[in-house]
């Protein structure tokens, strides 16, 4: 016997997107911390999940986030060449490239899932990109396509 998730909370007028962000521990998560230390304000819509490396991010994480009802997904790793694990982000980049194309091919709005690089020194960039992602997803509206329905 097995367990999985569904939900059917309806969307109200003051809808705010919920965005899940998978950040690599060494660059992007540190960049997010730096944004905090520098008190750079950004929209409170993201929830960060720390992973060791962008290479750890299996497409399952991203697709599951959508079926689970997150309105947007953000994936961020070290810039190419900066990877703490030498090449984890480069391995991941191919994976993300394919997933990104397939998502669009399947009719998922571009921007529902976003990929970026942010270094440990880029607090400002991190915050700017969070603002951008939040804006993109707000414009897209709630994630209705992939969200599992309580049928």
């Amino acid at each position: 016997m097995t367990v999985q998730t569904v939900d059917d909370k309806s969307i109200n007028e003051n809808w705010e997107p919920k965005i899940i962000a998978f950040l690599c521990n060494w660059c992007s998560y540190a960049g997010a911390d730096l944004a905090g230390v520098s008190r750079i304000q950004y929209p409170p819509n993201i929830r960060i999940v720390r992973v060791p490396c962008s290479g750890r991010i299996n497409p399952n994480f991203i697709i599951k986030s959508l079926t689970d009802g997150w309105d947007g997904v953000l994936v961020s790793g070290c810039h190419p060449g900066d990877c703490h694990y030498i090449s984890g982000n480069l391995v991941a980049r191919r994976r993300f490239a394919i997933l990104n194309e397939l998502l669009e091919f399947f009719g998922i709005e571009p921007g529902r899932v976003n990929f970026m690089w942010a270094s440990a020194a880029e607090g400002e960039r991190f915050a700017n990109l969070i603002k951008k992602v939040t804006k993109i997803i707000k414009e897209l509206g709630p994630n209705t396509k992939f969200k599992k329905k309580w049928c």
Binding site: L34, V37, I48, G55, R56, N58, W70, I86
Partner: protein, 1003 residues
């Protein structure tokens, strides 16, 4: 006199930190002394590093955090050396710890004091381009993260004391003297950047848009004053034309700076590239004399900068700079190589300032009783550049001579390697191991989670409704306790956490506070002391990633904090105790290659009583050095070599195998097994060992150009060196021409062989000394006498040796002419100069043998680069390590370099290896990848994805071909798992189930 198993390291930049980590890991007690308030030195200030354009902060900060919390490293900041006495093996040190006016033990680094401080001070970390408060921390990621009050600016208003809820502000805290004993000392105080004097000809200080390179570095930095935008200081406009001037305070007798600062050519090129990368409108132009891109992959970087980024190089030293008073633009006047005088307008000028010895060099020299050289850098041994004039005291990094980060890191490890050699019997004697209670058995029990929510003074509590979050958390499944604390990281809260674990039988602990990057290990230690496995811990980052970034949205911030806590609880319900697997270590070393590098490494191992096996493919030891007689600085290589061979042959811990070929190397860190065949009779030997040092060297290029091999008057530089040192054949020569860069910096081998310039100048000077009548002409592309070698370049010119530059695209033409040769040189001034010569000497480069290196690389599963040299784990910070643990590289196998660099690398490799060999067993990281054998179908994708060679396919009796992970090599990055289709690989600590649980935490 008893030796002491402790080491003093002065200076906690990247060099000092590296040496401290090496020695700390090798079991020595390390006193790391830093004069400023945090560690990291200049590297922490840099934006990117060449030649990989790595983000400096990304790569250095994990190292600094590690240094900061290393059990064997005793870090003292804001310190001054008072007294040094004793001798090698046993020194007594007295230091003065200057007061920060904030109690380090209490300060949590929350930063409220700095925010509330009403006084602004100049931000020295940002080179004065920004402001900080009088109560501040050096930079946001500083280690240790402790605030300090700058008394020069402080007005004593007492605001900080009032706002500090941790009661850490102790305004009257006094300086403190500390005394301790150490067995050895490493000096790594770094350098001081050259500051153009007042009234300098570049207008620095007078014209706003003339900045130094280090200031420009801060401008480039995303965390710098302009958040990475390229703006000029006068008006904040984007400068389109930016001039970079090389050799400011270098190679300049008039400035009293005769030596070359070694790093400016590369960092300038990097700054130009990054500037272009950050803002495309920027057009960088670099004014230089010679482009000294002598390091590994440096030339490629320069070419790339020119071709991909359009960086302009102009070979000229500018004669004057004036400012357009209206536009604040700068007018540069200079003479081109073909003699034209040009006046050009730039929007901004960056001065590539050189590296000076540290300001307190003389003070340090006096206190430590060491000698300085003529430029006031540490005077060191010709062959061992980390050995100062006083035994037991070593110098490394820019204090020894100007150098870049990898060379600094190499020397730091080399110094540590020499300390190892000196103090090896005392390793492990002064470090204390904590006694911990046995771990409580929690497997299979339902989770009992305790959540501790931090107010962090007002940092969290001021924006997030902590009581509400607490109430929320207490209702979450499996949470048996939710508590809130003023500072969860304070010492008294640690006691509270421990008590609560006992009282509530907690078996999972969550702290909702700041970032795990800085605080996870502290809390892990706490729960471990309470008997819980340290992995039964989770953090929710509700400060750095919540309260601080949503300061104006308390409602949303509270909601987000709840979400984050819920996600952490969800994950915590799925975490399990992890074990750090212990692997035994065979305390023996294998060194491949019997040149100087290999012998130095082997001898260092052997003198530490590690049984060592030295393998040489030739009949006799000596390698490349057999053909070198002296160094440019005058050291006798042949004497050094014969002494070294004698020591190697007489060391009883050292087994030398000549005419040897390695048949196979199996195993992994700590546990290698090698089979080799050696000698005339091809005997087979098997050898167990814990580490491998690859010192296989490289070969001298056999020229195909310039009639070499066809005309007896054309010889190689090494042949010439032999002639001049052992015969008087040169006596009758009237004219000698040397051609540089033969087989270097061309299409096939696009790298610089680094030593040829020095070799040519060395031999030319010697010839001139012996036979003053001989006319010597050196045809070059760039003269790369970096560092103090510049002196000999000057000396050569003064001795009348002629230097003529030729263009890469237009190489000299050599025509045989009876008993003479005619050399046609096309100079950059478009003149053609004909030289009739009796002898043509070709400075042949260094090349690596692809086939040989490939065989070894396959055996060791380590990479080689495009130029067939071995590729280290990280170009900047792990220059002698391979990504595969337990294997190291040194010497010419790594890239072309002079003897002293090879020796440094050999000692560095030994130091890195000693961090393994000094232990009976090594602990693998608990958070590693694991294979679910029943799921794995052995497709092998993970094997290719793994950067550490930690995965191999094995044939399992039950499951067939499956992946198998070597826990000792796995770093837990999860690249394997991210690609695994059937989720056969999972990463402990970040398992699919745990991440799934977090995804489900959406509210």
């Amino acid at each position: 006199m008893e030796k002491i198993g402790a080491v003093l390291i002065v200076g906690a930049g990247i060099g000092g930190s590296q040496a401290a980590l090496d020695l700390g890991d090798a079991g020595y007690k390390v006193y790391l002394i830093e004069s400023t308030t945090s560690i990291g030195g200049v590297m922490a200030q840099l934006d990117k590093t060449f030649p990989t354009n790595d983000c400096a902060m990304c790569i250095v900060s994990p190292k600094l955090v590690e240094t900061g919390r290393h059990q064997n490293i005793d870090l003292h900041i804001n310190c001054k050396i008072e007294e040094v006495s004793g001798e090698a093996g046993n020194f007594t040190i007295k230091i003065l710890k200057k007061s920060l006016h904030i109690n380090m033990d209490k300060c949590t680094g929350c930063g409220v004091c700095g925010q509330k401080c009403p006084v602004e001070a100049i931000d020295m970390f940002n080179e004065g381009l920004a402001k900080v408060k009088a109560t501040s921390v050096k930079y946001p990621q500083a280690v240790p993260l402790v605030y300090a009050i700058n008394k020069d600016y402080c007005i004593g208003c007492g605001v900080c004391e009032g706002v500090c809820k941790a009661e850490a502000v102790e305004y009257d805290l006094e300086d403190q003297e500390v005394e301790f004993n150490v067995g050895a000392i490493i000096l790594a105080p770094g350098f001081e950047e050259f500051v153009p004097a007042e009234g300098n000809k570049y207008g620095y200080g007078k014209y706003k848009n003339v900045v130094t390179s280090i200031e420009f570095e801060r401008i480039l930095s995303a965390s710098g004053p302009y958040t990475g935008k390229i703006l000029r200081p006068s008006d904040g406009d984007v400068p389109e034309q930016v001039a970079f001037l090389q050799c400011i305070g270098s190679r300049d007798l008039r400035e009293g700076q005769p030596y070359c600062s070694s790093v400016c050519c590369m960092y300038t090129c990097k700054e130009a590239v990054i500037a272009k990368e950050h803002m495309d409108q920027v057009n960088p132009t670099i004014f230089s004399m010679d482009v000294r891109a002598y390091g590994k992959d440096f030339d490629k970087y320069i070419i790339h900068a020119q071709e991909e980024y359009g960086v302009q190089y102009i070979r000229s030293r500018i004669s004057s700079i004036t400012e357009d008073s209206k536009t604040k633009d700068l007018i540069l006047k200079y003479e081109t190589e073909d003699g034209k005088i040009i006046s050009e307008v730039f929007n901004m000028v960056v001065l590539a300032v050189g590296l000076n010895p540290p300001n307190d060099a003389e003070y340090l020299a006096e206190k430590f009783g060491i000698e300085l050289n003529e430029y006031k850098f540490a005077l060191t041994d010709v062959f061992n550049p980390v050995q100062t004039t006083r035994p037991g005291i070593f110098a490394c990094g820019a204090f020894q001579s100007p150098k870049d980060i990898p060379e600094t890191v190499t020397q730091a490890s080399a110094a540590a390697g020499c300390v190892n050699q000196l103090l090896y019997e005392k390793t492990g004697t002064l470090i204390t191991e904590k006694t911990l209670p046995p771990e409580i058995y929690v497997a299979g029990q339902p989770p009992r989670i305790g959540v501790f929510i931090c107010h962090c003074g007002i940092n969290i509590g001021g924006y997030v409704d902590v009581p509400d979050v607490k109430k929320y958390a207490s209702n979450l499944p499996n949470v048996v306790l939710a508590d809130r604390n003023l500072y969860t990281c304070s010492a008294d809260t640690q006691t509270i956490i421990k008590n609560k674990i006992e009282e509530f039988h907690l078996n999972r602990v969550i702290v909702a506070s700041c970032t795990p990057r800085t605080h996870e290990s502290l809390f892990q230690e706490t729960i471990r002391e309470a008997g819980l496995n340290r992995y039964l811990f989770q953090m929710a980052n509700i400060r750095d990633q919540c309260s601080w970034v949503h300061m104006h949205q308390p409602k949303e911030a509270t909601q987000k904090a709840k979400d984050l806590v819920r996600m952490a609880v969800n994950k915590a319900r799925n975490i399990i105790p992890l074990e750090r697997i212990k692997l035994s270590v065979t305390p023996k070393a294998l060194v491949i290659g019997g040149g100087i590098t290999g012998m130095v490494a082997a001898l260092n191992f052997a003198s530490q009583e590690y049984e060592t096996c030295l393998v040489e493919k030739e009949m006799e030891l000596g390698g490349h050095a057999k053909h070198i007689y002296t160094t440019l600085e005058g050291g006798s290589v042949q004497d050094y070599l014969s002494d070294l061979i004698q020591k190697v042959n007489s060391n009883e811990n050292l087994h030398v195998y000549t005419q040897a070929e390695i048949e196979n190397i199996d195993g992994f860190i700590g546990n290698f097994k090698t089979t080799l065949i050696h000698g005339d009779r091809k005997e087979r030997v098997e050898f167990d060992h814990g580490v491998v040092v690859v010192a296989t060297g490289a070969n001298e290029y056999q020229p195909k150009e310039y009639l070499y091999g066809k005309n007896p008057l054309v010889i190689k530089q090494s042949d010439f060196e032999k002639l001049i040192n052992t015969t008087d054949d040169i006596k009758n020569k009237k004219s000698i021409v040397m051609i540089q860069c033969v087989g270097s910096r061309d299409e096939e081998r696009p790298y610089c062989s680094k030593m040829c310039c020095a070799e040519a100048i060395k031999n030319a000077i010697l010839t001139k000394e012996k036979y003053p009548g001989v006319e010597i002409t050196i045809l070059f592309r760039d003269i790369r006498t970096y560092g103090f070698k510049e002196k000999y370049y000057r000396q050569a010119r003064e001795a009348g040796i002629i230097f003529l530059r030729y263009d890469e695209k237009n190489p000299p033409n050599v025509i045989a002419n009876d008993s003479q040769l005619k050399v046609e040189v096309n100079t950059p001034t478009k003149e053609v100069i004909n030289i009739n010569t009796d002898l043509l000497v070709l400075s042949a480069g260094i090349y690596a043998d692809r086939e040989e290196n490939e065989v070894l690389a396959m055996m060791l599963k380590v990479p080689i680069n495009d130029d067939n040299f071995f590729l280290e784990a990280h170009v900047k910070l792990r220059p002698v390590d391979f990504a595969t643990e337990g294997i190291f590289v040194a010497g010419l196998a790594h890239c072309p370099k002079p003897i002293e660099d090879s020796i440094s690398q050999a000692n560095a490799a030994v130091s890195r290896a000693c961090t393994i060999l000094s232990k009976d067993e090594i602990e693998a990281e608990g958070k590693t990848a694991v294979v679910n054998m029943a799921r794995c179908s052995g497709c092998g994708m993970c094997v290719e994805n793994c950067a550490y060679n930690a995965i191999e396919l094995i044939e399992d009796r039950r499951f067939g071909l499956i992946a198998s992970i070597n826990q000792a090599l796995c770093k837990g990055c999860g690249a394997c798992s991210g690609n695994c289709r059937c989720a056969a690989i999972d990463v402990l600590g970040f398992t699919g189930e745990q991440i799934y649980a977090m995804i489900k935490g959406r509210l």
